[in-house]
């Protein structure tokens, strides 16, 4: 059993601080750590700060007032695109893809930006993008909600993934897409990456069984309304 906060096995660690929009603190974190090969489930009600936590780690959201490290190095000064390239990937809850690009352009853009040339192996085009789009220059705006989410997911798991954050990834997904998510998560874990999920559907808990669980609970002391607590195993 890995000790929490063990620097060597932690990919990402956040300590003693709050996630804050300006001066407004929303989530206090004593310690949050994603180990190598670990599946972490973030559990909390609507509006408790799950997405904010993900966005902070991805560098596109609120700031963190405490110490935040990625592979031992301070993460706060690292720009969002560099984090993504270095392997911190966030698959967002809503469809956030360039509507005016074709699906293939989206994927190629992701490959260009997320795969460091010459190092990470160029991934094969996923079957989904290949078969769904062959011979068709279909624009992202023409996709349905579920398809656009799937496209985003496929585009974000190319190259070297260290921490994969999946925000409500099962919402609106059909059975085939859910299976694909399972494959992606298992691949991540077998390659010693970490995977963080927020999931209200219960699919993740059912599929992965024993996982590390963090809960977002009401926080009495301090300005933040909620705190992140590691659930007992």
């Amino acid at each position: 059993m890995q000790g929490i906060g063990d620097e060597n096995s932690c990919i990402v660690v956040m300590r003693q601080g709050a996630i804050a929009y300006g001066a407004r603190e929303i989530l206090w974190i004593d310690e949050f750590c994603v180990h190598r090969g670990e599946i972490v489930l973030v559990v909390g009600g609507n509006g408790t700060g799950k997405t904010s936590l993900f966005r902070t780690l991805a560098g596109i959201g609120p700031r963190f007032t405490g110490d935040m490290r990625y592979l031992g190095q301070p993460l706060a000064p690292v720009a969002a695109h560099t984090r993504a390239r270095n392997g911190i990937r966030l698959v967002p809850q809503e469809r956030q893809v360039f509507d005016r690009l074709s699906a293939r352009q989206c994927f190629e853009l992701a490959v260009d930006n997320l795969v460091v040339r010459g190092r990470g192996a160029m991934p094969e085009t996923p079957g989904y993008i290949q078969t769904a789009l062959s011979g068709r220059n279909k624009f992202v705006s023409q996709f349905s909600g579920g398809e656009a989410k799937r496209l985003l997911l496929e585009s974000l798991v190319v190259g070297q993934v260290q921490v994969l954050m999946l925000d409500e990834v099962f919402a609106g997904m059909d059975a085939a897409a859910v299976d694909r998510v399972m494959v992606i998560v298992r691949n991540c874990i077998s390659r010693r990456a970490g995977c963080v999920l927020a999931d209200h559907t219960g699919t993740a808990r059912e599929a992965f069984g024993a996982v590390t669980e963090y809960r977002l609970l009401p926080h009495e002391e301090g300005p933040a309304a909620f705190k992140l607590v590691r659930a007992r195993q």
Partner: protein, 226 residues
């Protein structure tokens, strides 16, 4: 005019089309008062497009589609809303720059069906103020942009039920909603059905959804997409 058994929504050999592109295999269904109808099927098979066609959002289709006694091709969005058609959209569409309470006020103004009994409406309005906080922990004094995606969906669900719709189109109503609110959504849907309204729901089996519909129609992608 229409008997109690007249259907609220009637689809006959419905095929959604985007330009020359056929989206789904033909589907037929009819939704009667008191019913819960489920549209299932893989991603991209046209389920949401069918809802958009019913709302008069300019989705092209072949076949026959009627909603609240009028041809869906001639549906005017504001008119179907006035006649009691409401939607819980797949992704929140609220104006993010408004304060929650401002939005609720604007919403009230444009939901004339809810102003029939003025006194009772005022009561309900007062309840609504407190209820958003009590039920969902939503502070009504903050901009909608501050709400999380789940909270925005809860707000839309709350208002959809508050409008006492004759027909409710619910597009994956549980997506992104915490489990503790599933009974609330289920209760609201039962309320619509018991007041002889009907619910047409888009859903995936993967959510382990608690719905037992009166019928379920699987919408399949067109085999030949020409």
């Amino acid at each position: 005019m229409s008997g109690s058994d007249a259907s609220l929504i009637e689809a006959d050999a419905l095929v959604v089309r985007y330009g020359g592109w056929q989206v789904n295999e033909p589907v037929s269904f009819s939704l009667h008062p008191g019913q819960l109808g489920l549209l299932t099927g893989p991603n991209g098979s046209g389920k949401t497009s069918i809802l958009r066609a019913l709302l008069g959002q300019g989705v092209g289709y072949e076949g026959n589609l009627r909603v609240l006694d009028s041809d869906a091709r001639r549906v005017k969005p504001w008119r179907v809303i006035r006649e009691g058609l409401r939607v819980i959209p797949q992704f929140p569409t609220l104006p993010v720059s408004l304060i929650v309470m401002e939005y609720v006020k604007v919403w009230r103004r444009y939901n004339p069906g809810c102003l029939v009994e003025r006194e009772r409406e005022t009561d309900r309005h007062r309840v609504a103020k407190g209820e958003l906080g009590r039920l969902f922990g939503i502070d009504t004094r903050v901009p909608i942009s501050v709400l999380s995606t789940g909270q925005r969906r809860l707000l839309e669900i709350f208002l959809a039920f508050a409008a006492k719709p004759r027909v409710l189109l619910a597009d994956e109503p549980l997506a992104g909603i915490a489990r503790e609110f599933i009974p609330y959504v289920a209760e609201g849907i039962r309320g619509v059905r018991e007041s002889s309204g009907a619910v047409l729901m888009v859903t995936h089996g993967s959510e382990a959804s608690p719905w037992r519909g009166d019928w379920a129609v699987e919408v399949m992608p067109a085999k030949c997409r020409a």
